[in-house]
Amino acid sequence: MTTTDQETRPTAEDRSRFEEVWARPRGWRRALTSVQHKSVGTRYMVTAAVFFFVGGIQALFMRVQLAQPEQQVLSAQTYNELFTMHGTTMMFLFAVPFLEGLAAYLLPLMLGARDMPFARYNTFNYWCYLFAGIILYSSFLVGMVPDAGWFAYVPLSGPEFADKAMDIWLFGLALAELAAIGAAIEMIVVVLGMRAPGMSLDRMPIFAWTMLCVAAMIILAFVPLLVGSMLLELDRNAGTAFFDVERGGDPLLWQHLFWIFGHPEVYVMFLPGAAIISQVVPVHSRHRLVGYPFVVAAVVVTAIMSLGLWVHHMYTTGLPPVTLSFFTAASMSISVASGVQVVAWITTLWSGRPRLTVPMLFSLGFLFTFVAGGITGVMVASAPFDAQAHDSYFVVAHFHYVLIGGMLFPVMAGLFHWWPKFTGRIPSARLGTVSFWLTFAGFHLTFFPMHLTGLWGMPRRVFTYDATLGVGLLNLLSTVGAFVLAAGFVLAATTLLVALRRGERSGPNPWGADSLEWAADSPPSSPNFGRIPVVGSRAPLWNPPPQDPELDGMAAAFDHAPQNVRATPFTTVLAARPGTAAVQARPSLWPLVTAGGLALVAVGLLVGSVWVVAASVLVIVAGFVAWELQNERELGAGEAREPVGGRYPVEAPGPRSPGWWGATAAAVVLVVAVATVAFSLLFLEVNAPVWPAGETLGRPWLSAGTGVALALAVAAAWWGSRHGPLDHAAASEARGVHLAATATAGLAGTAALALTVAQWVTSDLDPTAHAYDSGVLTLLGTQALAIVLGLGITGCAVVARLTHARDVRPRIMLQNSAMLWTGVLVVWAIAWAATDLVPVAVV
């Protein structure tokens, strides 16, 4: 990037102070307190890779058992445990977390930022994920391994048929989902707000577009699963009736909730894979991606349509044909979007000069395999054919083509592509090529025969089959292939690890690539970029930088600066014009403490100890308070935090700083959660012969009072957020207003909480009697939880007011709490409609 003449270059002293503020913690502190996106991303990827190999070993055991008809290598119980844990591990502990880690590592680099927007929250999510994995795998230690399948259909996973193993599974899952939802919020904010100056939406790398869409999908799709697992946990341990037919529940509700998550989940894995290909293919063919707007549109279409495919997992549950057909239409439409991407890649190959590097080989392997998986996907999308193929090995073949072909091969391409960036070393091309051919041949040898095994009548999830089925040879081929595939992955991992020490040094940009991460050092320094790059085209490293004084001004202001706080440019959503400075977190222990507390809550609930639960809640609360105090300190508590370069304010109200986006996203998550519960109740209602069994909740005055109190909290927070000067240097004028506003919002929120509790206490409902009653309890509980979150953020506003001399920070925090309170108000409205209005309205 060029420098204009008139600006002052940072001095050596500036540089060393800048490096000091970005210095990584050393020794044990590094392990526990580092929050930097690169270390968090690396941890995600390493942990996920470990789980990948564990899940792979489970698969090998299963393949050995199935190598011959009627073998006795594994018992039925062990086999069922293994396929449950294999699916759970690969989906929840490998694929999604790995991609979150890759995104956490790459997005800031690719977009020209210095860290993720809420680096500590990012770290918190990683710890949640790690603890989720530990909880799930502790099931092997205590000898209660989940065995109800990764889809955990009730009633098999319900109180009557599953033991505590299922609780372990549900808690592990809930923590992993919580982590994924958090990661999604991070991705949305980093992509929308933290792009390098000039990187308008039309110049954004496809990977960033994709992760934006994926993050939106995660929020819309993972929240329902989190809600679903909560409902199942209540059924299992609190005697509620959501899935019990006798009491107004319905086992199909679980399938809806699970697949509303489950199908988008597939695209949450595939779309990043496709995005990796969209980054790798152009670089290794030395040609810009052809049809960029079409690829972006295809990603958007895939993301949206993936939300409307879930019923195609339920084609055989006896739904009416027209229902099935709506979802057949959606399932087939989505394949056109994949067609667009495939043709864009092939046209890029055609127009460019492809080099058969290892990343390119894996990309070609991806195309070869994924297209086949997509085509079998169209086949199983057809309801009448699916009635035959469903739950047979044909489907096993299909989704391994899509997931290994569509996600794992791209990940391998990406690893070999970005390894020089991660480590500064180039992995051996020869070993990489061998590992590609091993995985490619092993994959097809394993999974191609499964199409036939399925068509010839072998169902999934059987621990054995008899010789007369005539699929012995096919299964033997699959088993041999599985070992070849495993050898390929072991060799690939070895190649990468050996490169850490022996690989050729790569320099910043060994492939001659086009996107910003290749402008940083290899491996990148702690702040990624001393001087933030400016962007004037889709391929910033292939084109000359833009001559735009406004952009250059921002780059100059942030050139090895600021030096008293970690910060990165925050730019406008559409055009990425210079905006403000976003403060980035320094190392902290509190994410680990709070995530550990959350995991301890799960442990306490599993062992049934109130004391453990109570203690861990205390740990969580203390952890969050310490976390918030640390936040405020970094934002210049007690002193004025000067604008960066004198022009870019450190934080500003509204969408000009990350906090507003975070609060909005949190409000959206709350609304999606309560809407899921409300829709669940509507679903149960239309399917139940009687609804409700007795009285409705019928506490209109208490409910209206809650609404009024919440509206008051919203109004108070808004009112407070509009007072006081925004200038960092101006003396505080609105201290009293802010305190009054927080006090009002806090009191109103407390009143709303009391009224919510009163609604339940004064009613005669019994959550174990009927699903309606269970639903009311859950809705009121969700509402109470939302209010507690509102009170929490109001508390943060109080802390901000008490610790800051200037008015801007309390204003921002009040605005954030107003956003969240608005979400809580919507939660109340939905809950009220579902408990009182709808039961009266429906037939």
Partner: protein, 345 residues
């Protein structure tokens, strides 16, 4: 174990399966062609440029996006697949219209109720007061309405050669129409993971021509043969077949009577029904005509003396996790019990 040669959806043996099969052939042909075209294009794209690579210079600037590229992506990537998908969707909807809707009870002359249990199938003919397990007998050439229910977990009913699968969901009655053109034995099984022994939850559908079917129904509707009525029978083929290698002494009749006594005085009666006797249990399969069935344990063992002995003494070894406890019997008692069970034709 089960005498059914074909266990896949090919060749289809009924009109529902037929219709799905022709839909599948369309999917297969179109899918294969599309895949071949895409992979060929990919390989040509890579290989064709490999020759040009020699001319590549180091200072090459990566090519800019050609306007033509947009058109290629839009038409080959968007419009062409959309047209193909429209065609497939049309055939899918039409197939669904022909096969998806369940036949009304009024239009289907034969109604069979199938209740999925962990891990076997209870089969009832409500119009004929017949109850059996793991075997569904149907007449050829007629629509048979199968009403599927479950009281425990979700199962799925799948006879690949006759139709696609339909789940058995607690709280719902799902309906499937079977239609077999030819007499024969069609293999079926549970297709939804339902717990420990999901792999061994199988059944057969036996299609008879109309007179044979009527005969079967009539035989099944009779109460069990009791040993004191064995004398009335004109012949005893069962006794000859199974009792041939029995020890000397006890005649078949007395042994059957002894076996019956053992059955009625043991815990068997708590779970099993034998029509015409005091055994009225409903937790396990109805044994009234046990000897007429091909297999025991929902397909896990063939129905012969040796297997019955194993099944009675150590069912948890044969099929761990099924609901039947093992019964301790000495050899004589076991022999007698099996002889009795084998008399239940």
């Amino acid at each position: 174990m089960i005498d059914a040669r074909i266990r896949s959806m090919f060749p289809p043996a009924g009109d529902v399966a037929d219709r799905v099969d022709s839909h599948w052939q369309l999917l297969l042909v179109v899918g294969s062609v599309v895949w071949l075209v895409v992979v060929t294009a990919m390989l040509v794209a890579v290989l064709r440029r490999r020759r040009a690579e020699r001319e590549e210079r180091d200072d090459d600037v990566p090519g800019d996006e050609p306007g033509r590229g947009h058109l290629v992506v839009a038409f080959l990537g968007g419009v062409a697949p959309a047209l193909i998908i429209l065609g497939i969707m049309a055939d899918s909807v039409l197939t669904l219209r022909d096969t998806g809707a369940a036949t009304d009870a009024s239009r289907a002359p034969v109604v069979v109720e199938v209740d999925g249990r962990q891990f076997w199938w209870e089969v009832r003919y409500p119009d004929h007061d017949v109850e059996t397990a793991n075997e569904i007998h149907i007449p050829t050439g007629q629509d048979v309405r199968i009403e599927l229910t479950s009281d425990d977990v979700i199962h799925s009913f799948w006879v690949p050669q006759l139709a696609g699968k339909v789940d058995l969901v607690p709280g719902r009655t799902n309906v499937l129409t079977l239609h077999a053109d030819e007499p024969g034995t069609y293999w079926g099984r549970c297709a939804e993971y339902c717990g420990l022994q999901h792999a061994w939850m199988r059944f057969v559908v036996v299609a008879h021509d109309a007179p044979e079917y009527a005969g079967w129904l009539e035989a099944q509707a009779r109460p069990a043969r009791s040993p004191d009525r064995v004398d009335d029978g004109d012949d005893q083929p069962g006794g000859d077949e199974t009792g041939g290698d029995d020890g000397p002494g006890a005649g078949p009749d007395t042994e059957v009577a002894a076996g019956r006594e053992i059955f009625m005085s043991s815990s068997c009666v708590y779970c099993h029904t034998i029509a015409g006797t005091e055994a009225r249990g409903t937790l396990g399969p109805d044994l009234t005509h046990l000897a007429s069935r091909q297999a025991i344990g929902a397909g896990v063992l063939p129905n012969d003396r040796e297997s019955l002995a194993r099944w009675i003494t150590e069912p948890q070894d044969v099929k761990p996790g099924n609901a039947m406890p093992g019964t301790e019997l000495d050899d004589d008692e076991l022999d007698a019990l099996i002889t009795y069970l084998e008399s239940l034709e």
